[in-house]
Point group: C2
Chain length 358, copies 2
């Protein structure tokens, strides 16, 4: 097998939205073969036939994996993948501290930049993936801000804010917010228009930053910013226009597992994927876990008894050497029903086994 | 001196809004005397003269302490105090975990209730002030929910949610939110109307809970709830109606210091209060710190050089034995101005010294 995961990671680094297709065929009950994996990125949609084009478009909008059965009785797992968004916090002051924490909780890879060593150090931001101690003039060479990033400008002074804004504007990040009073923001915007910056782009800057909840303390302001960012990520129009959910990146895949699949393609392994769910389960569709013949594993499909049960089945299939298997895992129970519980659900899981390439 | 702080704590426990008046007189430069402290609660406003009534009303609306000079040349410090709000989380599941953390960050005393020992334990909620392992039927006897509390109903099932809602409704908490899909919430509301509950009160329940930011994961939902709660606390009308800041409890006082002042009135001590500020300073007006003759201290007015400078002055005044002193602390500087910094400000501080009552 050509390593499609390596290509996937490459595509995602180019900020492409990609659907991975895995085609299966049940020849007999004992001969369940994985035919191939292929990738179609959003940019390549024109090149495939109309029917498939529509299917892929829908999956990218819904943002959830789907199992489809084709006319010639093939099963195809369609999995959507999206570039990973960073939360880049420019300025390491009193708002950055809670914001880095909340951003990490929410699932962002957080980068904090400040030019003062006392504010840009890993001790101050233990949760951040990256802490850069660099001048705001030069940091952007390292950052390479791109269209899937979320950028928050909260430096200690409006001169630094302006330096950052000038450099971030051209990168068109997914979200760009800047702190500051209405008056100060207005002055800066006028200055930048005067310098020739595009007024339309400046109007899209979230500034004054954060949802208007009357936040006063740094922690409250961080919550208001985080709520605004979640809204930008999850909704197709702004909160104030009346929220409408944006059906993207609901897949629960994690990058660490994808990166491993992209790198290590030589050993025999089973890939477990949550394909769909009903009710409340710990991990959603798209979640993946790798199990190797020597017992090692990476990632999680939710832990507990269910994961143990699926892992056992994966090990059996690894013994067989290749093929695939689908499983229904039921986490509901009479206790749950008695209490009117909303937790406890059912999930469909796919196990694929790939032989060693050594 | 009669301990007015003990009375203040009592008033606040009755959920009263209270203004403490401290009257000073400068007889000569060397004879600056504190005349007396007195309390006027919002409920007692009718009993004082019109002029004072208006002053106190304004201070309660603004929520910030103020120094006023009376006609007979007395200086009066007017400090507003508000009952402490708890964040009571009913249900210890996957949303309660991040919510307890964020609530504590925001400054709430957090209480978590669940009837399952595995979900209601201090190991799971290290930040919470109180974790109650009790049935939802009986927990309210211990909780004594009141008008300054913020209550979030996020139990594991709608039957428990209903049990909680029935009991909380009559306590009229400052905020009452309940999780659940639109349909499920609607059904429950209809059920309760049928049981004779007041429809107006039911309509005031924030449900489905949280700002509409498209939150999906437990952490995102916790942020959406926290943002809604901050909005309720800080704004005089809801976020969706167009935010308008609510000018209450902006004073930065902390309960621990007040409680100490209420309990310990026998030793000689200096009370330091931040009276006003300009620009950005670490602690706002209302922040208090106690310094005793033996060098101990409690509370903070922001730390750093400024606090050290004020503490030194307080110790000098303690040596003198009684009286008061006002100080202007300047935290701006040329470095700050050069960089267009918004941090760095000026604060006015009051030091009062009270002799031992032993």
């Amino acid at each position: 097998m050509d390593n499609q995961y390596a290509k996937l990671i490459e595509d995602l680094q180019q900020k492409n939205q990609v659907v991975m297709l895995t085609r299966f065929k049940t020849v007999t009950e004992a001969d369940k073969t994985i035919i191939e994996k292929s990738l179609i990125s959003k940019d390549e949609l024109e090149t495939v036939d109309k029917q498939l084009q529509k299917t892929i478009e829908n999956i990218l909008i819904k943002g959830m994996p789907e199992l489809i059965i084709t006319a010639d009785n093939e099963t195809v797992l369609c999995e959507p993948f999206y570039a990973e968004g960073r939360l880049i916090i420019l300025g390491g002051g009193h708002i950055a501290k809670p914001l880095a924490k909340y951003g990490t909780d929410i699932g962002f890879k957080v980068t904090v930049v400040d030019d003062r060593p006392a504010f840009a150090n890993e001790g101050r931001f233990p949760e951040a993936s990256q802490v850069l101690c660099e001048s705001f003039e030069t940091c952007f060479d390292h950052l390479q801000v791109n269209a899937s990033d979320y950028v928050v400008i909260v430096t200690r002074g409006h001169r630094h804010d302006a330096v950052c804004l000038r450099q971030v504007l051209d990168s068109d990040p997914e979200y760009l917010g800047m702190i500051g009073s209405k008056r100060r923001v207005k002055n800066l915007m006028e200055l930048l228009v005067g310098e020739g910056f595009d007024e339309g782009k400046l109007n899209q800057v979230y500034s004054p930053i954060g949802l208007k909840i009357g936040a006063i303390t740094p922690e409250e302001i961080a919550i208001s910013i985080m709520a605004e960012i979640i809204g930008k990520k999850r909704l197709s129009q702004s909160v104030s226009e009346g929220p409408k959910r944006r059906q993207t990146s609901q897949s629960d895949f994690d990058y660490e597992v994808l990166e491993n699949l992209a790198n290590e393609d030589t050993e025999e392994r089973a890939i477990i994927t949550v394909v769909s769910k009903k009710g409340s389960v710990p991990r959603g569709p798209g979640a993946k876990m790798i199990i190797w013949s020597d017992g090692r594993s990476l990632g999680s499909i939710g832990g507990g008894c269910s994961e143990a049960e699926v892992s056992l089945a994966a090990r059996d299939l690894l013994q067989a050497g290749s093929g695939y298997l689908t499983m229904k895992v039921d986490m509901t129970g009479s206790v749950a029903e008695d209490e009117g519980m909303v937790c406890g659900g059912i999930m469909d899981v796919l196990i694929e086994v790939y032989p060693s390439m050594k």
